[in-house]
Protein backbone atom coordinates (compact mmCIF):
# COMPACT_ATOMS: atom_id res chain seq x y z
CA UNK A 1 0.00 0.00 0.00
CA UNK A 2 2.78 2.37 0.98
CA UNK A 3 4.70 1.40 -2.17
CA UNK A 4 1.69 2.31 -4.31
CA UNK A 5 1.35 5.67 -2.55
CA UNK A 6 5.05 6.42 -3.08
CA UNK A 7 4.78 5.44 -6.73
CA UNK A 8 1.70 7.63 -7.10
CA UNK A 9 3.65 10.62 -5.73
CA UNK A 10 6.60 9.99 -8.04
CA UNK A 11 4.39 9.34 -11.06
CA UNK A 12 2.58 12.63 -10.43
CA UNK A 13 5.90 14.50 -10.42
CA UNK A 14 7.31 12.62 -13.43
CA UNK A 15 4.30 12.84 -15.70
CA UNK A 16 4.36 16.63 -15.50
CA UNK A 17 8.04 16.81 -16.45
CA UNK A 18 9.10 17.40 -20.00
CA UNK A 19 12.21 15.23 -19.61
CA UNK A 20 10.06 12.17 -18.97
CA UNK A 21 8.03 12.63 -22.16
CA UNK A 22 10.98 13.78 -24.28
CA UNK A 23 13.16 10.75 -23.41
CA UNK A 24 10.33 8.20 -23.55
CA UNK A 25 8.86 9.78 -26.69
CA UNK A 26 12.26 9.81 -28.39
CA UNK A 27 12.76 6.14 -27.55
CA UNK A 28 9.37 5.13 -28.95
CA UNK A 29 9.84 7.29 -32.03
CA UNK A 30 13.17 5.58 -32.76
CA UNK A 31 11.36 2.22 -32.92
CA UNK A 32 8.65 3.65 -35.12
CA UNK A 33 11.30 5.11 -37.40
CA UNK A 34 13.23 1.84 -37.49
CA UNK A 35 10.14 -0.20 -38.27
CA UNK A 36 8.87 2.37 -40.73
CA UNK A 37 12.18 2.35 -42.64
CA UNK A 38 12.19 -1.46 -42.66
CA UNK A 39 8.68 -1.50 -44.04
CA UNK A 40 9.48 1.19 -46.62
CA UNK A 41 12.60 -0.60 -47.83
CA UNK A 42 10.62 -3.78 -48.33
CA UNK A 43 7.78 -1.97 -50.11
CA UNK A 44 10.29 -0.19 -52.35
CA UNK A 45 11.97 -3.48 -53.23
CA UNK A 46 15.23 -2.49 -51.51
CA UNK A 47 14.93 -5.27 -48.97
CA UNK A 48 13.69 -8.74 -49.75
CA UNK A 49 12.16 -9.62 -46.47
CA UNK A 50 9.69 -7.58 -44.46
CA UNK A 51 9.88 -7.09 -40.70
CA UNK A 52 8.77 -10.36 -39.17
CA UNK A 53 8.69 -12.09 -35.84
CA UNK A 54 10.24 -14.04 -34.25
CA UNK A 55 13.17 -13.52 -36.65
CA UNK A 56 13.64 -9.81 -36.06
CA UNK A 57 13.28 -9.59 -32.30
CA UNK A 58 17.02 -9.22 -31.92
CA UNK A 59 17.23 -6.46 -34.54
CA UNK A 60 14.92 -4.37 -32.40
CA UNK A 61 17.36 -4.62 -29.49
CA UNK A 62 20.49 -4.14 -31.57
CA UNK A 63 19.01 -1.18 -33.40
CA UNK A 64 16.96 1.37 -31.48
CA UNK A 65 17.03 -0.76 -28.31
CA UNK A 66 20.63 0.29 -27.72
CA UNK A 67 19.47 3.86 -27.27
CA UNK A 68 17.38 2.78 -24.29
CA UNK A 69 20.46 2.50 -22.09
CA UNK A 70 21.49 6.05 -22.90
CA UNK A 71 18.01 7.49 -22.56
CA UNK A 72 17.18 5.75 -19.28
CA UNK A 73 20.43 7.13 -17.85
CA UNK A 74 19.41 10.65 -18.82
CA UNK A 75 15.85 10.18 -17.55
CA UNK A 76 16.86 8.69 -14.19
CA UNK A 77 19.56 11.30 -13.56
CA UNK A 78 17.35 14.25 -14.42
CA UNK A 79 14.31 12.97 -12.52
CA UNK A 80 16.29 12.11 -9.39
CA UNK A 81 19.13 14.65 -9.18
CA UNK A 82 16.90 17.67 -9.77
CA UNK A 83 15.18 16.97 -6.44
CA UNK A 84 18.44 17.90 -4.75
CA UNK A 85 19.00 20.97 -6.90
CA UNK A 86 15.51 22.27 -6.14
CA UNK A 87 15.77 21.12 -2.51
CA UNK A 88 12.43 19.40 -2.96
CA UNK A 89 13.85 16.14 -1.56
CA UNK A 90 14.42 18.00 1.67
CA UNK A 91 10.92 19.50 1.55
CA UNK A 92 9.38 16.09 0.80
CA UNK A 93 11.06 14.76 3.94
CA UNK A 94 9.99 17.81 5.96
CA UNK A 95 6.44 17.28 4.70
CA UNK A 96 6.35 13.82 6.20
CA UNK A 97 8.19 11.22 4.13
CA UNK A 98 10.96 9.38 5.91
CA UNK A 99 14.32 9.27 4.16
CA UNK A 100 13.63 5.63 3.38
CA UNK A 101 10.26 6.42 1.84
CA UNK A 102 11.67 9.17 -0.35
CA UNK A 103 14.48 6.88 -1.48
CA UNK A 104 12.07 4.01 -2.13
CA UNK A 105 9.78 6.29 -4.12
CA UNK A 106 12.65 7.26 -6.40
CA UNK A 107 13.69 3.62 -6.78
CA UNK A 108 10.13 2.74 -7.77
CA UNK A 109 10.18 5.53 -10.34
CA UNK A 110 13.44 4.14 -11.77
CA UNK A 111 11.82 0.69 -11.90
CA UNK A 112 8.81 2.14 -13.68
CA UNK A 113 11.14 3.69 -16.26
CA UNK A 114 12.86 0.33 -16.69
CA UNK A 115 9.50 -1.33 -17.36
CA UNK A 116 8.53 1.35 -19.87
CA UNK A 117 11.85 1.06 -21.72
CA UNK A 118 11.76 -2.72 -21.61
CA UNK A 119 8.24 -3.05 -22.88
CA UNK A 120 8.63 -0.48 -25.68
CA UNK A 121 10.45 -2.78 -28.19
CA UNK A 122 8.10 -5.63 -27.35
CA UNK A 123 4.92 -3.63 -27.84
CA UNK A 124 6.06 -1.73 -30.93
CA UNK A 125 7.40 -4.95 -32.48
CA UNK A 126 4.17 -6.82 -31.79
CA UNK A 127 2.02 -3.96 -33.01
CA UNK A 128 3.92 -3.79 -36.29
CA UNK A 129 3.95 -7.54 -36.71
CA UNK A 130 0.34 -8.22 -35.81
CA UNK A 131 -1.54 -5.16 -36.97
CA UNK A 132 0.28 -4.43 -40.18
CA UNK A 133 -1.95 -6.94 -41.93
CA UNK A 134 0.58 -7.98 -44.54
CA UNK A 135 1.24 -11.69 -44.93
CA UNK A 136 4.64 -12.75 -43.78
CA UNK A 137 5.03 -10.24 -41.00
CA UNK A 138 4.74 -12.97 -38.44
CA UNK A 139 6.83 -15.48 -40.27
CA UNK A 140 5.71 -18.67 -38.55
CA UNK A 141 9.27 -19.97 -38.34
CA UNK A 142 8.81 -20.93 -34.72
CA UNK A 143 7.28 -19.79 -31.46
CA UNK A 144 6.72 -16.05 -31.22
CA UNK A 145 9.16 -15.84 -28.29
CA UNK A 146 11.90 -18.45 -28.73
CA UNK A 147 14.22 -19.22 -25.82
CA UNK A 148 17.08 -17.19 -27.30
CA UNK A 149 14.83 -14.13 -27.44
CA UNK A 150 13.69 -14.69 -23.87
CA UNK A 151 17.36 -14.69 -22.92
CA UNK A 152 18.02 -11.53 -24.92
CA UNK A 153 14.99 -9.67 -23.59
CA UNK A 154 15.64 -10.93 -20.06
CA UNK A 155 19.21 -9.65 -20.46
CA UNK A 156 17.88 -6.35 -21.79
CA UNK A 157 15.70 -6.03 -18.68
CA UNK A 158 18.66 -6.64 -16.37
CA UNK A 159 20.79 -4.27 -18.48
CA UNK A 160 18.21 -1.53 -18.03
CA UNK A 161 17.92 -2.21 -14.29
CA UNK A 162 21.68 -2.14 -13.77
CA UNK A 163 22.10 1.00 -15.89
CA UNK A 164 19.24 2.71 -14.06
CA UNK A 165 20.80 1.75 -10.71
CA UNK A 166 24.16 3.14 -11.81
CA UNK A 167 22.55 6.41 -12.92
CA UNK A 168 20.50 6.45 -9.72
CA UNK A 169 23.63 6.16 -7.59
CA UNK A 170 25.33 9.10 -9.29
CA UNK A 171 22.11 11.13 -9.22
CA UNK A 172 21.95 10.68 -5.43
CA UNK A 173 25.65 11.27 -4.81
CA UNK A 174 26.22 14.24 -7.12
CA UNK A 175 25.18 17.74 -6.18
CA UNK A 176 23.52 18.54 -9.52
CA UNK A 177 22.03 16.89 -12.61
CA UNK A 178 24.96 18.03 -14.77
CA UNK A 179 27.63 16.59 -12.53
CA UNK A 180 25.60 13.38 -12.10
CA UNK A 181 25.37 12.92 -15.88
CA UNK A 182 29.06 13.65 -16.29
CA UNK A 183 30.03 11.19 -13.55
CA UNK A 184 27.78 8.47 -14.99
CA UNK A 185 29.16 8.76 -18.49
CA UNK A 186 32.79 9.05 -17.38
CA UNK A 187 32.32 5.99 -15.16
CA UNK A 188 30.83 4.02 -18.05
CA UNK A 189 33.24 5.10 -20.75
CA UNK A 190 36.49 5.15 -18.76
CA UNK A 191 36.32 1.56 -17.54
CA UNK A 192 37.31 -0.23 -20.72
CA UNK A 193 40.39 1.80 -21.69
CA UNK A 194 41.69 1.65 -18.13
CA UNK A 195 41.17 -2.09 -17.77
CA UNK A 196 42.54 -2.81 -21.23
CA UNK A 197 45.65 -0.83 -20.39
CA UNK A 198 46.04 -2.74 -17.14
CA UNK A 199 45.33 -6.06 -18.90
CA UNK A 200 48.32 -5.52 -21.15
CA UNK A 201 50.56 -5.40 -18.06
CA UNK A 202 49.22 -8.30 -16.04
CA UNK A 203 47.07 -11.35 -16.79
CA UNK A 204 45.15 -10.76 -13.57
CA UNK A 205 43.56 -7.61 -14.96
CA UNK A 206 41.91 -9.55 -17.80
CA UNK A 207 39.85 -11.41 -15.23
CA UNK A 208 38.93 -8.08 -13.64
CA UNK A 209 38.20 -6.35 -16.95
CA UNK A 210 35.73 -9.00 -18.10
CA UNK A 211 33.81 -8.41 -14.89
CA UNK A 212 33.85 -4.61 -15.05
CA UNK A 213 30.31 -3.18 -14.89
CA UNK A 214 30.17 -1.76 -18.42
CA UNK A 215 31.66 -4.93 -19.87
CA UNK A 216 29.15 -7.09 -18.02
CA UNK A 217 26.14 -4.91 -18.88
CA UNK A 218 26.95 -4.65 -22.58
CA UNK A 219 26.94 -8.42 -23.13
CA UNK A 220 23.60 -9.09 -21.44
CA UNK A 221 21.49 -8.81 -24.60
CA UNK A 222 23.73 -11.16 -26.54
CA UNK A 223 21.94 -14.56 -26.74
CA UNK A 224 25.26 -16.27 -27.49
CA UNK A 225 26.36 -16.01 -23.86
CA UNK A 226 23.74 -18.65 -23.01
CA UNK A 227 25.11 -21.17 -25.49
CA UNK A 228 28.50 -22.59 -24.37
CA UNK A 229 29.60 -23.54 -27.89
CA UNK A 230 28.74 -20.20 -29.42
CA UNK A 231 30.26 -18.39 -26.44
CA UNK A 232 33.53 -20.31 -26.91
CA UNK A 233 33.59 -19.38 -30.62
CA UNK A 234 32.79 -15.79 -29.84
CA UNK A 235 35.54 -15.52 -27.22
CA UNK A 236 38.08 -17.04 -29.58
CA UNK A 237 37.27 -14.33 -32.07
CA UNK A 238 37.72 -11.55 -29.49
CA UNK A 239 41.45 -11.22 -29.93
CA UNK A 240 42.94 -8.86 -27.37
CA UNK A 241 39.60 -8.18 -25.77
CA UNK A 242 38.46 -9.62 -22.43
CA UNK A 243 36.33 -12.73 -23.03
CA UNK A 244 32.58 -12.63 -22.46
CA UNK A 245 31.11 -14.29 -19.39
CA UNK A 246 28.60 -17.15 -19.42
CA UNK A 247 24.99 -15.88 -19.23
CA UNK A 248 24.23 -16.89 -15.65
CA UNK A 249 27.42 -15.34 -14.32
CA UNK A 250 26.84 -12.13 -16.27
CA UNK A 251 23.27 -11.84 -14.95
CA UNK A 252 24.38 -12.57 -11.38
CA UNK A 253 27.19 -10.00 -11.60
CA UNK A 254 24.88 -7.38 -13.11
CA UNK A 255 22.36 -7.90 -10.32
CA UNK A 256 25.20 -7.75 -7.80
CA UNK A 257 26.35 -4.43 -9.24
CA UNK A 258 22.75 -3.21 -9.12
CA UNK A 259 22.55 -4.04 -5.42
CA UNK A 260 25.93 -2.39 -4.84
CA UNK A 261 24.93 0.83 -6.64
CA UNK A 262 21.64 1.05 -4.74
CA UNK A 263 23.41 0.27 -1.46
CA UNK A 264 26.00 3.01 -1.99
CA UNK A 265 23.25 5.47 -2.93
CA UNK A 266 21.29 4.60 0.22
CA UNK A 267 24.31 4.97 2.50
CA UNK A 268 25.12 8.36 0.95
CA UNK A 269 21.52 9.52 1.22
CA UNK A 270 20.96 8.24 4.73
CA UNK A 271 24.03 9.81 6.28
CA UNK A 272 24.08 13.20 4.66
CA UNK A 273 22.32 16.34 5.84
CA UNK A 274 19.50 17.19 3.46
Amino acid sequence: MMALRLLDIEWFKARHRAVFWVTSGFFVSMFLLFLGITQYRHAAGLDERPFSLPRDWLDLLRGPGGLGVLLITVAVVLLVASERTWRTQRQNVIDGLSRGQFFTGKLLLALLLVLIYWITPIVTGLVFAIFDGRPGYTDGTGPLLPVAMLHAYGGFFVHLIATAAQAFMFAIIASSSGSALALTFVFSIAQMPIFLLLSSRAEYWIAVARRAPTMVFDQLTNPAIWDPDRLAQLNEARQGLPPLLPGAEAIALALGYTALFVGIAWLAFRHRDL
Binding site: R90, Q91, L274
Partner: protein
Protein backbone atom coordinates in the same frame (compact mmCIF):
# COMPACT_ATOMS: atom_id res chain seq x y z
CA UNK B 1 2.47 20.49 26.97
CA UNK B 2 6.05 20.92 25.85
CA UNK B 3 5.94 20.87 22.08
CA UNK B 4 9.71 21.30 21.64
CA UNK B 5 12.34 20.44 24.19
CA UNK B 6 15.95 20.86 23.15
CA UNK B 7 18.90 20.16 25.36
CA UNK B 8 22.60 20.80 24.64
CA UNK B 9 22.04 20.50 20.90
CA UNK B 10 25.25 20.76 18.92
CA UNK B 11 26.13 20.71 15.23
CA UNK B 12 29.58 21.15 13.74
CA UNK B 13 30.65 21.58 10.13
CA UNK B 14 34.35 20.83 10.23
CA UNK B 15 35.90 23.41 12.53
CA UNK B 16 32.80 25.58 12.55
CA UNK B 17 30.36 25.00 15.39
CA UNK B 18 27.09 26.10 13.81
CA UNK B 19 24.97 25.21 16.86
CA UNK B 20 26.72 25.18 20.20
CA UNK B 21 25.01 23.30 23.06
CA UNK B 22 21.74 25.18 22.86
CA UNK B 23 18.76 24.41 25.07
CA UNK B 24 15.23 25.77 24.93
CA UNK B 25 11.62 24.73 25.26
CA UNK B 26 8.50 25.77 23.40
CA UNK B 27 5.16 25.26 25.11
CA UNK B 28 1.87 24.56 23.37
CA UNK B 29 0.20 27.66 21.94
CA UNK B 30 3.28 29.87 21.99
CA UNK B 31 4.41 31.91 19.02
CA UNK B 32 8.12 31.43 19.54
CA UNK B 33 10.49 33.80 17.76
CA UNK B 34 13.96 32.49 17.04
CA UNK B 35 16.02 35.59 16.49
CA UNK B 36 19.52 36.00 15.26
CA UNK B 37 21.71 37.63 12.64
CA UNK B 38 22.29 35.88 9.32
CA UNK B 39 24.53 32.86 9.83
CA UNK B 40 23.82 32.60 13.54
CA UNK B 41 22.57 28.99 13.36
CA UNK B 42 18.81 29.47 13.07
CA UNK B 43 18.28 27.36 9.96
CA UNK B 44 20.65 24.64 11.17
CA UNK B 45 18.69 24.46 14.43
CA UNK B 46 15.42 24.05 12.53
CA UNK B 47 17.03 21.41 10.33
CA UNK B 48 18.06 19.56 13.48
CA UNK B 49 14.55 19.86 14.93
CA UNK B 50 13.11 18.37 11.76
CA UNK B 51 15.61 15.55 11.66
CA UNK B 52 17.03 16.46 8.26
CA UNK B 53 20.37 17.56 9.73
CA UNK B 54 22.28 15.08 11.85
CA UNK B 55 23.34 16.46 15.26
CA UNK B 56 26.77 16.00 16.81
CA UNK B 57 25.38 16.10 20.33
CA UNK B 58 22.42 16.87 22.53
CA UNK B 59 18.81 15.75 22.53
CA UNK B 60 15.53 16.79 20.96
CA UNK B 61 12.11 15.78 22.24
CA UNK B 62 8.96 16.74 20.36
CA UNK B 63 5.36 16.59 21.65
CA UNK B 64 6.75 15.02 24.86
CA UNK B 65 6.92 11.64 23.12
CA UNK B 66 9.23 11.63 20.11
CA UNK B 67 12.96 11.37 20.73
CA UNK B 68 15.78 11.72 18.22
CA UNK B 69 15.05 8.37 16.60
CA UNK B 70 11.37 9.19 16.05
CA UNK B 71 11.61 12.64 14.50
CA UNK B 72 10.35 11.25 11.19
CA UNK B 73 7.14 10.21 12.98
CA UNK B 74 6.85 13.59 14.70
CA UNK B 75 7.09 15.33 11.32
CA UNK B 76 3.58 14.14 10.55
CA UNK B 77 2.35 16.58 13.20
CA UNK B 78 4.52 19.44 11.94
CA UNK B 79 4.20 21.81 9.04
CA UNK B 80 7.46 23.50 8.15
CA UNK B 81 9.36 25.59 5.66
CA UNK B 82 13.13 25.84 5.60
CA UNK B 83 15.07 28.71 4.04
CA UNK B 84 13.66 29.57 0.62
CA UNK B 85 10.35 28.03 -0.51
CA UNK B 86 11.24 24.69 -2.08
CA UNK B 87 8.83 23.58 -4.78
CA UNK B 88 8.84 22.07 -8.26
CA UNK B 89 9.35 25.01 -10.66
CA UNK B 90 7.57 23.25 -13.54
CA UNK B 91 4.39 22.55 -11.54
CA UNK B 92 1.61 25.02 -10.85
CA UNK B 93 1.00 26.29 -7.34
CA UNK B 94 -1.96 23.94 -7.02
CA UNK B 95 -0.06 20.92 -8.34
CA UNK B 96 2.78 21.65 -5.92
CA UNK B 97 0.29 21.57 -3.07
CA UNK B 98 -1.14 18.34 -4.53
CA UNK B 99 2.29 16.77 -4.07
CA UNK B 100 2.29 17.97 -0.46
CA UNK B 101 -1.26 16.66 -0.03
CA UNK B 102 -0.26 13.23 -1.34
CA UNK B 103 2.63 13.11 1.13
CA UNK B 104 0.49 14.27 4.04
CA UNK B 105 -2.50 12.20 2.90
CA UNK B 106 -4.63 15.34 2.75
CA UNK B 107 -7.59 15.82 0.44
CA UNK B 108 -8.19 17.98 -2.62
CA UNK B 109 -10.47 20.09 -0.41
CA UNK B 110 -7.50 20.71 1.91
CA UNK B 111 -5.50 21.94 -1.08
CA UNK B 112 -8.27 24.40 -1.96
CA UNK B 113 -8.58 25.54 1.66
CA UNK B 114 -4.82 26.12 1.97
CA UNK B 115 -4.75 28.12 -1.27
CA UNK B 116 -7.69 30.17 -0.04
CA UNK B 117 -6.07 30.82 3.32
CA UNK B 118 -3.01 32.41 1.73
CA UNK B 119 -4.92 34.18 -1.02
CA UNK B 120 -3.42 32.26 -3.92
CA UNK B 121 -6.60 30.79 -5.40
CA UNK B 122 -6.66 33.25 -8.34
CA UNK B 123 -3.08 32.28 -9.29
CA UNK B 124 -3.26 28.58 -8.42
CA UNK B 125 -2.86 27.48 -12.04
CA UNK B 126 0.32 29.50 -12.67
CA UNK B 127 3.67 27.78 -12.66
CA UNK B 128 5.62 28.14 -9.42
CA UNK B 129 8.57 29.54 -11.39
CA UNK B 130 6.36 32.48 -12.42
CA UNK B 131 5.44 33.39 -8.84
CA UNK B 132 6.82 36.47 -7.09
CA UNK B 133 8.84 35.91 -3.92
CA UNK B 134 5.86 36.91 -1.79
CA UNK B 135 3.64 34.38 -3.56
CA UNK B 136 6.29 31.70 -3.13
CA UNK B 137 6.47 32.44 0.60
CA UNK B 138 2.69 32.26 0.86
CA UNK B 139 2.63 28.97 -1.03
CA UNK B 140 5.26 27.62 1.37
CA UNK B 141 3.07 28.60 4.31
CA UNK B 142 0.07 26.99 2.59
CA UNK B 143 2.10 23.79 2.25
CA UNK B 144 3.08 23.95 5.90
CA UNK B 145 -0.58 24.39 6.90
CA UNK B 146 -1.72 21.29 5.02
CA UNK B 147 -2.56 18.26 7.11
CA UNK B 148 -3.67 20.33 10.11
CA UNK B 149 -0.27 20.44 11.90
CA UNK B 150 -0.05 21.11 15.63
CA UNK B 151 3.34 22.78 15.25
CA UNK B 152 4.15 25.17 12.42
CA UNK B 153 7.82 26.00 11.85
CA UNK B 154 8.57 28.91 9.55
CA UNK B 155 12.13 29.82 8.65
CA UNK B 156 12.51 33.48 7.71
CA UNK B 157 8.99 33.73 6.26
CA UNK B 158 9.27 37.48 5.67
CA UNK B 159 12.70 37.32 4.06
CA UNK B 160 12.98 39.51 0.98
CA UNK B 161 9.41 40.74 1.14
CA UNK B 162 8.23 44.31 0.80
CA UNK B 163 6.24 45.89 3.68
CA UNK B 164 2.95 44.77 2.14
CA UNK B 165 4.21 41.21 1.79
CA UNK B 166 5.44 41.25 5.38
CA UNK B 167 2.05 42.44 6.56
CA UNK B 168 0.37 39.58 4.70
CA UNK B 169 2.71 37.02 6.24
CA UNK B 170 2.17 38.55 9.69
CA UNK B 171 -1.59 38.28 9.27
CA UNK B 172 -1.27 34.64 8.23
CA UNK B 173 0.88 33.89 11.30
CA UNK B 174 -1.62 35.65 13.55
CA UNK B 175 -4.37 33.59 11.93
CA UNK B 176 -2.48 30.35 12.57
CA UNK B 177 -1.81 31.37 16.18
CA UNK B 178 -5.50 32.22 16.55
CA UNK B 179 -6.31 28.62 15.65
CA UNK B 180 -4.32 27.52 18.70
CA UNK B 181 -1.34 26.16 16.82
CA UNK B 182 2.14 26.40 18.24
CA UNK B 183 4.37 28.45 15.95
CA UNK B 184 8.13 28.51 15.80
CA UNK B 185 9.31 31.32 13.56
CA UNK B 186 12.91 32.22 12.85
CA UNK B 187 13.83 35.66 11.66
CA UNK B 188 16.47 38.33 11.68
CA UNK B 189 13.75 40.99 11.35
CA UNK B 190 13.25 42.17 14.93
CA UNK B 191 10.37 44.41 14.09
CA UNK B 192 8.45 41.48 12.65
CA UNK B 193 9.21 39.23 15.59
CA UNK B 194 8.22 41.91 18.09
CA UNK B 195 4.87 42.28 16.39
CA UNK B 196 4.23 38.57 16.01
CA UNK B 197 5.73 36.53 18.83
CA UNK B 198 4.84 35.78 22.43
CA UNK B 199 8.22 34.25 23.29
CA UNK B 200 11.70 34.83 21.96
CA UNK B 201 15.14 33.28 21.97
CA UNK B 202 18.12 35.23 20.63
CA UNK B 203 20.92 33.23 19.05
CA UNK B 204 24.32 34.37 17.87
CA UNK B 205 27.22 32.28 16.61
CA UNK B 206 25.33 29.13 17.50
CA UNK B 207 24.66 30.09 21.12
CA UNK B 208 21.43 31.21 22.70
CA UNK B 209 22.08 34.51 24.46
CA UNK B 210 18.70 34.95 26.09
CA UNK B 211 15.20 33.56 25.93
CA UNK B 212 11.83 34.06 27.55
CA UNK B 213 8.45 35.74 27.16
CA UNK B 214 8.76 38.76 24.88
CA UNK B 215 7.14 41.19 27.33
CA UNK B 216 9.55 40.14 30.09
CA UNK B 217 12.56 40.49 27.82
CA UNK B 218 11.70 43.99 26.68
CA UNK B 219 10.34 45.12 30.05
CA UNK B 220 12.96 43.50 32.24
CA UNK B 221 15.20 46.56 32.07
CA UNK B 222 13.22 49.78 31.61
CA UNK B 223 15.05 52.95 30.77
CA UNK B 224 14.28 56.47 32.01
CA UNK B 225 15.72 59.65 30.59
CA UNK B 226 16.06 62.40 33.22
CA UNK B 227 17.46 65.93 33.26
CA UNK B 228 18.19 68.44 36.03
CA UNK B 229 19.95 71.81 36.25
CA UNK B 230 22.49 70.26 38.67
CA UNK B 231 23.63 67.12 36.86
CA UNK B 232 26.27 66.20 39.46
CA UNK B 233 23.67 66.27 42.24
CA UNK B 234 21.35 64.23 40.04
CA UNK B 235 24.00 61.57 39.45
CA UNK B 236 24.74 61.38 43.20
CA UNK B 237 21.07 61.09 44.08
CA UNK B 238 20.19 58.41 41.54
CA UNK B 239 23.17 56.44 42.79
CA UNK B 240 21.29 56.06 46.07
CA UNK B 241 17.98 55.06 44.47
CA UNK B 242 17.48 51.31 45.04
CA UNK B 243 15.76 50.57 41.70
CA UNK B 244 18.56 52.04 39.58
CA UNK B 245 20.72 49.40 37.95
CA UNK B 246 22.90 51.76 35.95
CA UNK B 247 23.15 55.51 35.34
CA UNK B 248 24.94 56.94 32.32
CA UNK B 249 25.28 60.61 31.36
CA UNK B 250 24.13 61.13 27.78
CA UNK B 251 24.48 64.74 26.59
CA UNK B 252 22.52 66.97 28.94
CA UNK B 253 20.50 63.98 30.15
CA UNK B 254 21.16 61.02 32.35
CA UNK B 255 19.97 57.64 31.15
CA UNK B 256 18.81 55.37 33.96
CA UNK B 257 18.34 51.63 33.72
CA UNK B 258 15.60 50.76 36.22
CA UNK B 259 14.26 47.61 37.78
CA UNK B 260 10.72 49.01 37.72
CA UNK B 261 8.70 51.63 35.88
CA UNK B 262 7.57 53.65 38.91
CA UNK B 263 8.69 57.11 37.77
CA UNK B 264 6.56 58.88 40.37
CA UNK B 265 8.54 57.16 43.11
CA UNK B 266 11.79 58.14 41.40
CA UNK B 267 10.70 61.76 41.08
CA UNK B 268 9.60 61.84 44.74
CA UNK B 269 12.91 60.29 45.86
CA UNK B 270 14.91 62.92 43.97
CA UNK B 271 12.74 65.84 45.15
CA UNK B 272 13.25 64.73 48.76
CA UNK B 273 16.97 65.20 48.06
CA UNK B 274 16.31 68.63 46.53
CA UNK B 275 17.06 67.45 43.02
CA UNK B 276 14.31 68.80 40.77
CA UNK B 277 13.83 67.34 37.32
CA UNK B 278 13.15 69.39 34.21
CA UNK B 279 12.75 66.29 32.07
CA UNK B 280 11.54 62.81 33.00
CA UNK B 281 10.44 60.27 30.45
CA UNK B 282 10.19 56.48 30.44
CA UNK B 283 11.94 54.86 27.51
CA UNK B 284 10.56 51.37 27.12
CA UNK B 285 13.26 49.12 25.84
CA UNK B 286 12.49 47.58 22.48
CA UNK B 287 13.51 44.14 21.29
CA UNK B 288 16.02 45.95 19.14
CA UNK B 289 17.68 47.45 22.26
CA UNK B 290 17.82 44.00 23.86
CA UNK B 291 19.23 42.53 20.68
CA UNK B 292 21.92 45.22 20.32
CA UNK B 293 22.84 44.92 23.99
CA UNK B 294 23.29 41.17 23.65
CA UNK B 295 24.77 40.78 20.21
CA UNK B 296 26.41 44.11 19.51
CA UNK B 297 24.87 43.87 16.01
CA UNK B 298 22.72 46.45 14.35
CA UNK B 299 19.65 44.48 13.31
CA UNK B 300 17.64 44.97 10.16
CA UNK B 301 15.34 47.96 10.30
CA UNK B 302 11.60 47.95 10.41
CA UNK B 303 10.12 48.23 6.93
CA UNK B 304 8.98 51.81 7.54
CA UNK B 305 12.48 52.84 8.63
CA UNK B 306 14.05 50.98 5.74
CA UNK B 307 11.70 52.71 3.31
CA UNK B 308 12.69 56.08 4.78
Amino acid sequence: MRIIEVSDLTKRYGRLTAVDRISFTVEQGQVFGFLGPNGSGKTTTIGLLLGIVHPDGGTIRLFEQYGMAELHTARRRIGATLETPNFYPYLSGRDNLRVVAKIKEASEADVSAALDAVGLTPRQGDRFSKYSLGMKQRLAIAGAMMGDPELVILDEPANGLDPEGMREIREIIHGLAGQGRTIFVSSHLLYEVERTCTHVAIIKKGRILTQGPLDQLVRGTSLARVRSADREALLRAVGEYPAVVRAEPEGADVLLELRDEDLAALNRFLAEREVYLSHLVLQRQSLEDVFIDLTGDRPDLAPEEAAA
